[in-house]
């Protein structure tokens, strides 16, 4: 399919308008509610524990390249860095992508500055390890063992190396929080980490933490979109059911499925 069908334009149009409506209403000062997510206390507790033990914190954005999920993960990294900076604790951030290396270095430098301890930030803690998945994984487990990190955070896109990192972290007794939309890796984070945030829960968590009106509005807009998509899917199912009886509806069904 080189070009979109009409149904795709409609669906994206509706979802985008709902999200922008959420953001605009939040900017106009409408009070918005987001339920507190358990993942948030876990993040603060993990940073606190690492500071008590005086050991550094390791934050990995997995195989994150220049993609949306990596920016969401870096937003969480900035938040963790702000927490750690208060107690002048180190955050080690090994990366696999050179473009993300430049962005991550700036994000962390700025987080330490915002927390009032710009001098506590050590540039060499943001490290490019390797461009290859398993060289990166072996590098990270090397750092974990040598630096004896007390807390591990795994946020962003992950693949098979997720369990290599999480199981090694568990073996050295670090407290571990993970959040990823890579569904096939969530089971391994659940098995090896203390707390796992599933799919876009971690995105809502960062909106909750920052209390930033645009982020809050966006999460609300996203909820409206999910309700709309669920309703759309449900009506589609009803049409599919009726189509088994009245064949004329098959044309409508073909339109809804985008000619599949």
């Amino acid at each position: 399919m080189e070009h979109a069908q009409l149904i795709h334009l409609l669906v994206i149009g509706v979802v985008s308008t709902l999200i922008l409506y959420g953001i605009l209403s939040s900017l106009r000062g409408k009070e918005l509610f987001i339920r507190r997510l358990a993942g948030i206390d876990a993040i603060e507790e993990a940073v606190g524990r690492a500071t008590e033990m005086g050991r550094p914190i390791l934050f990995s954005v997995g195989l994150g390249g220049v993609e949306i999920e990596t920016f969401q993960a870096l937003a969480i990294a900035s938040h963790v860095a702000r927490l750690a900076a208060r107690y002048r604790n180190r955050v080690i951030l090994p990366v696999i992508d050179t473009v993300i290396y430049t962005i991550a270095e700036e994000a962390l430098r700025e987080a330490y500055a915002e927390a009032g301890h710009p001098e506590a930030f050590r540039p060499e803690d943001v490290r490019f390890l390797s461009g290859s998945q398993f060289a990166y994984a072996s590098g990270v487990i090397g750092i974990m063992n040598r630096e004896k990190v007390a807390a591990n955070f795994f946020f962003g896109p992950f693949a098979a190396e997720s369990l290599i990192l999480a199981e090694t972290g568990q073996a050295i007794g670090a407290i571990q929080i993970a959040g990823t939309a890579s569904i096939l890796q969530v089971p391994f984070f659940i098995a090896a980490c203390d707390y796992t945030i599933i799919g876009e829960e971690f995105y809502a968590a960062s909106a909750y933490l920052s209390r930033d009106p645009i982020h809050l509005g966006s999460v609300v807009g996203q909820d409206y979109s999910k309700i709309a998509l669920a309703a759309f899917t449900f009506t589609g199912m009803i049409i599919a059911t009726l189509a088994t009886r009245w064949a004329e509806l098959n044309g409508l069904l073909k339109f809804l499925t985008g000619g599949q």
């Binding site: 070009h3 979109a4 870096l74 900035s78 939309a181 982020h215 996203q222 998509l229």
Partner: protein
């Protein structure tokens, strides 16, 4: 305006000219007050964000189709190449960062500096051997008989198959051990959720190996209890619980991705890297 040229000197001249034009453009932007400069970057991000949606969402057979076919679709591959090439240039940043970290280890004789020396040696050997294998395979001796290899090919085979592929496959295979210890520790009936995690895994495991199948193969295949056979139950669960659940997660993940894309595109993103003034 952007047409290839035939003669070499003209080609080099145009290249130098383009560099000068870019430098002038950047210098002009440099002297512009910061918030105006930020506006320019926001506009450029917006325009860059327009390209793929316009190219993809303008349907065939409308007034805009000729515009799309003339100005947008032909640039799909060149833009892909341009992005890949510019990202390739950043590899230098990664390598310089690596070298700084390891060079500091050596210069300050930090604990484990020997490994940093090993890092430099293996990097340089692999770099030289891979380039030689690609551009000058028969460096020292040319004609090779059937089962003979040139020194460069031999070195590349040892370094690539012997070291790189072996290390890659071995680190990957560590998962066989880690999955066993993770399963042992995680599958405990502490809470309802942990119990369900365990039950799901056990059913699929038993459904995959002959021992598991042997346990329930006595249930006749035609009877209504057929779905109690491990391999059938595991197939059914994978198709009717696993698939819709994954789809449910994907609904949220993709709506979230769309929301972030909208915010980056309209420069609404705040916090972290984006928030800083210029």
């Amino acid at each position: 305006m952007f047409q290839p040229v035939e003669n070499t000197i003209l080609n080099i001249a145009l290249m130098i000219l383009s560099v000068l034009v870019s430098v002038v453009f950047l210098a002009v932007l440099h002297n512009v007050p910061p918030n105006l400069r930020m506006r320019v970057i926001m506009v450029i991000t917006f325009i860059a964000g327009l390209y793929y949606p316009l190219e993809f969402f303008i349907p065939d057979g409308t007034a805009l189709t000729p515009f799309r076919n003339r100005y947008l679709t032909p640039f799909l591959n060149p833009i892909g190449d341009a992005v890949a090439v510019m990202a390739a240039f950043t590899v230098g940043i990664g390598i310089t960062n690596l070298c700084i970290v390891h060079a500091r280890n050596i210069s300050q004789r930090r604990e484990g500096w020997g490994n940093s020396v090993v890092f430099f040696i293996s990097m340089i050997i692999m770099f030289v051997v891979t380039l030689a294998n690609r551009y000058a395979p028969n460096l020292f001796c040319t004609a090779t008989a059937e089962n003979m290899m040139t020194p460069v090919q031999a070195a590349f085979s040892v370094m690539f198959e012997g070291v790189y592929t072996a290390l890659n496959a071995t680190v990957f295979s560590l998962l066989a051990f880690f999955i066993t210890s993770a399963a042992y520790r995680a599958f405990r009936i502490r809470t309802a959720e942990a119990a369900l995690l365990m039950v799901g895994a056990l059913i699929v495991m038993l459904g995959q190996v002959p021992v598991g199948m042997w346990l329930t193969h006595w249930i006749p295949d035609e009877s209504i209890f057929r779905f109690l056979r491990f391999e059938v139950l595991s197939e059914w669960l994978l198709a009717n619980i696993n698939m819709p659940a994954q789809r449910g997660i994907l609904f949220g993940v993709w709506v979230g991705a769309l929301a972030m894309a909208l915010r980056i595109w309209l420069s609404l993103e705040r916090g972290g890297y984006f928030g800083r003034q210029f």
